[in-house]
Symmetry: C2
Subunit: 236 residues, 2 copies
């Protein structure tokens, strides 16, 4: 089969940022391979969201990698049942510094997988929805990490040695949450299919009070748009 479109790997959690990345890659005409991870995260309903988005965007392939590592390592509120997910009533109340939801080396591992997949699939581009403005303070979302990783990845793989390694795109890195949402809305990203909450109820309803919910709700409010998903709590 001859392919006419360049292929992109999109790291897809199923949340707001990665879904917007997917919309951007689709808008630019890439054939999409989505890469998601089942790493023992509490909020595994985000994997369901990723499947909905893959169907919506008719991605060529959806690879969901099981990663026992992070659950085994522990040390994060997202994977360790002994550490509570922090909640607050507003973005202003979110604690300073690196929060307990930080997962050690998560983006390092995720991106390493993406690089392997890109090499095997001959993808020209990797999209990751990291954001260094309205973010949770994770070190592996900062541009200096992304840049250093891209350099290391280029040296790690055969395609890189041959001068045709994938480029690493972070289209959201300098945008506020409100700008991300406005951009995604303009591209028709189906935010009603996404899931952002770290601490959902049994039925998958977003809590409305974890860092991720608070940042999302403030983003929609700042953008003057209505968030299409329901919340368990009305605080924001």
């Amino acid at each position: 089969m001859t392919r006419h479109e360049p292929t992109a790997i999109v790291l897809l959690s199923g949340g707001l940022d990665s879904s917007t990345c997917m919309g951007i890659a689709a808008d630019e005409g890439f054939e999409i391979i989505a890469l998601s991870f089942d790493y023992g995260q509490r909020h595994r309903c985000e994997l369901e969201a990723s499947r909905r988005l893959v169907r919506h965007y008719r991605a060529r392939r959806h690879m969901i990698c099981e990663l026992g590592l992070f659950r085994e390592l522990g040390g994060s509120a997202l994977t360790d049942d002994g550490i509570p997910v922090p909640v607050a009533d507003s973005v202003a109340q979110i604690g300073e510094g690196i929060p307990t939801t930080y997962v050690p080396a998560r983006n390092l591992v995720f991106l390493s997988y993406a690089v392997g997949l890109a090499e095997v699939e001959g993808a020209s581009t990797i999209f990751i929805g990291v954001n260094a403005v309205d973010y949770s303070g994770y070190p592996d979302c900062r541009p200096e990490f992304i840049q250093a990783f891209a350099e290391a990845a280029g040296l790690a793989i055969k395609a890189g040695v041959e001068g045709r390694g994938p480029s690493l795109r972070t289209p959201l890195i300098d945008l506020s949450k409100a700008e991300i949402i406005a951009k995604g809305r303009a591209l028709g990203v189906p935010y009603e299919l996404t899931h952002s909450c770290y601490h959902p109820r049994e039925d998958g309803t977003a809590c409305g009070r974890c860092d991720s919910c608070l940042l999302r709700r403030k983003g929609f409010a700042d953008a003057g748009l209505c968030d299409p998903i329901p919340y368990a709590s009305s605080a924001a």
Copy 2:
């Protein structure tokens, strides 16, 4: 429990190089956490070798991570049954360039796991037995990759941001295979417990003719030492 010794993560395949690294880490007084991977490699008896070495060195912990990724990706003679492992009669016959035993992004993924484990365990050091002299031409064994990766890793993790990220040690990188073996022998590394062959017989006996066997045998010969493991073929 108070710990008096610094902790090191040792990437341990069970082969000659990683075992020598283990010996070096032990000799320097590190408390050892061994990290091995079950990535669908044909030569899975190397995992048995890693277990023998962990017992020998009384490592504090042995983490064996299952990685379905590489088998699923394919594209390597080590993980894809459709690609034969190349064999030859001597090191001089080993093909030029990157061989088919190359596994896309392998060390990138392995090291990313090591960084996560180091952060959670508070390890000060990561040892990896990469070697850029008598090696198989893999891009992710070169010093420029290791250096770039170390930089990216320092930026990825909380410990790195706080100035106490693990250092990445590659004590074998500039040594010939003969020098590695001489060093290991001087440290008492039990080479009889190791496994290097990419293409072992059912009973685990090394083939003697894959790149890995050829480099190992030549290394022992050049060092003027006897390789304590048996081979199926006497060619070397």
